[in-house]
């Protein structure tokens, strides 16, 4: 893994050492996470406005969400955060096979999350609990109950897209681990993928009580 010059193969030409490269990559990742927080921050601000303006609708509509499935999904995501952390730790210790197992588990758990989400969504589609002009459900009191579902589908939909993105990234890390790209000396990409995955998890931890546990 070392070139004749004594520089490790993974060290790009413009860095003077591995430490500098690692720190740069992590700083870049943290700044990227900041932009993700602000992206969702905009949605959370919308949530605050519409809930403040329509407290009754939010209460009446949220009882139609399936709290059990939401709670199960919360547990699934938290578990996947643990497995991705274990994957990083395993690679730090140079245990490649364990890393592969934990990364694969993480991707699988993300898949479970999406499957559960699919059942939740399709149930609502079936009932006509849809956002905006497509809303056709008659069982919720108050004017404009579709507002809640607009907020619900936008927030959870954008989050689900991030889950899919996370699966792709962690899947890529899995492939690279199998390809033997990483070692106890060089595991920054897995670490950064883990950071991203934790963010996706944290956003859900806020979404769950805000949408499912009102009042």
């Amino acid at each position: 893994m070392t070139e004749p010059s004594g520089r490790p193969a993974h060290l790009a030409h413009h860095f003077s050492d591995t430490e500098q490269q690692r720190e740069s990559a992590k700083l870049g990742m943290w700044i990227f996470l900041l932009t993700e927080i602000l992206l969702f921050g905009g949605l959370f601000a919308f949530y605050v406005f519409y809930r403040a303006w329509n407290p009754d609708i939010f209460y009446n509509a949220h009882v139609h969400l399936n709290t059990t499935l939401g709670a199960v999904n919360t547990i699934v995501l938290i578990t996947s955060s643990v497995t991705v952390a274990l994957a990083i730790r395993s690679m730090q210790l140079g245990k490649r096979r364990k890393t592969i197992t934990f990364l694969a588990t993480t991707v699988a758990l993300a898949g479970v999350f999406l499957i559960i989400k699919y059942f939740e969504y399709s149930h609502k589609f079936h009932l006509g609990q849809l956002p905006g002009q497509y809303y056709s459900y008659a069982g919720i009191e108050g004017t404009n109950p579709h507002i809640f579902f607009s907020v619900y589908f936008t927030m959870t939909g954008l989050h689900a897209l991030h889950v899919i993105g996370g699966m792709v990234v962690i899947g890529w890390m899995l492939y690279r681990t199998i390809r033997n790209d990483f070692s106890a000396e060089y595991y920054t990409p897995i670490e950064n993928a883990g950071l991203y995955w934790h963010l996706v998890d944290v956003i859900w931890i806020y979404l769950f009580p805000l949408l499912y546990l009102i009042g």
């Binding site: 790009a12 030409h13 413009h14 860095f15 003077s16 500098q20 720190e23 740069s24 990559a25 700083l27 870049g28 700044i31 990227f32 900041l34 932009t35 993700e36 602000l38 992206l39 969702f40 921050g41 905009g42 949605l43 601000a45 919308f46 406005f49 519409y50 303006w53 329509n54 956002p131 905006g132 002009q133 497509y134 004017t143 404009n144 579709h146 507002i147 607009s150 907020v151 589908f153 936008t154 954008l158």
Partner: protein, 548 residues
Amino acid sequence: MSTGTYTAEHPEDSVNYLNVSSGLKSWLFTLDHKRIGVLYLFSIMAMFLFGGILAMLMRFELLGPGAELMTADTYNRMFTLHGAIMIFMFIIPSVPAILGNFALPIQIGAKDVAFPRLNLASWYVYVTGSGLALYAIIAGSVDTGWTFYTPYSTQVTGSVIAMVFAVFILGFSSIFTGINFIATIHKLRAPGMTWYKMPLFVWGIYATGVIQVLATPVLGITLILLILERAFGIGIFDPSMGGDPVLFQHFFWFYSHPAVYIMILPGMGIISELISTFSHRKIFGYKAIAYSSIAIAFLSFGVWGHHMFVSGQSQYATLVFSFLTFLVAIPSGIKVFNWVSTMYKGAITFETPMLFTLTFLFTFTIGGLTGIFLGSTAVDVHLTDTYFIVAHFHYVMMGGTIMAFFGGLYYWWPKIWGRMYSEIWGKISALLVFVGFNLTFFPMFVMGAQGMPRRYFLYPEKYQIEHVLSTGGSWILAAGLLIMALNLIHAMKWGPKAEKNPWGALTLEWMIDSPPPPHNFKETPEIEHGPYDHDKVLVKPGKVGATT
């Protein structure tokens, strides 16, 4: 001084970033920050040309009070496209992506930016976004104005979704650039390059990066919601469905006001470089200028409401936003006074970049001061949506950022291409741009104060004299820009060879060859003096050596 250590020692050292490899592929897959800067240079200038032609056509249309050249609908599309192109595809990326990419890593003694692949990706994202925007233009007549205000933008026909999505994509390009520069400045400075030894251009780009990273995602989510509203009718901005259109304005300006500082801060950074170099004097108030950039970045997030004084926000909010808006004048004033103080008792020379710097000081100050008129609530009610506001932001954006950008282009051109432009034609272009710019936009202050509304296709005859002056000015401005373009293009290939340091500047990019070698520095540079120590270090223009 150890500048000699960076000099070419072997014949093969005449290899530079331009001739190290050739062919289209070597450019399209390059990871070199200098080449990516050049890629950006050509693509961004193409958009500038396009946006400029639209502006010229609009000015021609406004020669007379009636319909002269086009229909009213065409005119509406033209000002929309002119605004969207100039803001999102020209000014926002211009200085950071072209000059920042080229000069910033060298200025801090780095061999490249922290994430070269991300840097190249940002260019592809930019090209994709611009391409989609062009598609929206050709396929379908967007006439919402560049601000995409709801409910108009959600109801009107035309490919608004494609246009909005294009702007969303362009936002990623901006975010990637911001992330890259922040990480580069934090982690890749050469040994000895402390924060207070960084050139002020770097400070300006740093403050810009912070805003790019913090504000752009909010625009992103707002545009996503606009697309969802238009495509699926989610009702979030539709009052008949319990939504609120003013909320769109709040979110739009929460990004787009800080975006104004994304545009101006890098320009201010350039001015700090040029004014010290061409006054041959140490910059006055280095720390004040550096921190005022950060202060502007900070304040920029608290002033968005001044775009909405007449949009129905509460009077209390209006007063707070008005007050916060006035605060921006303080760091801006600090900068202007420090620049003027730098010139005081300096040995000023008037090369072309310096002429643009002086133009900047003149026009930016007018733009900034008229901003205070507009920040005053009572005056603003009268001036909202008139030509006064058009004049104000053109004085800030074009008279500020773009003048600085032109100065910076002339300044770094010898470094980028290794060849000098023609000084006499440069001066002629600067003079024409100065006269043409002021003649184009100053009459707009007058007619705006008299009540001429912006974005109108027809107008009463009493405003015609100002409109004719303005259109005449636009022709002088265009002539100046044309001469500048020819001068710079000619210099690329046929100009006389440029010295390593034609200006006698002290920042690191002038210590290496022109054009720079592929990895900038043969060995890690040692920082032995500050970027503006003209009082300690004597560098004669055109010479490499120096004495202390």
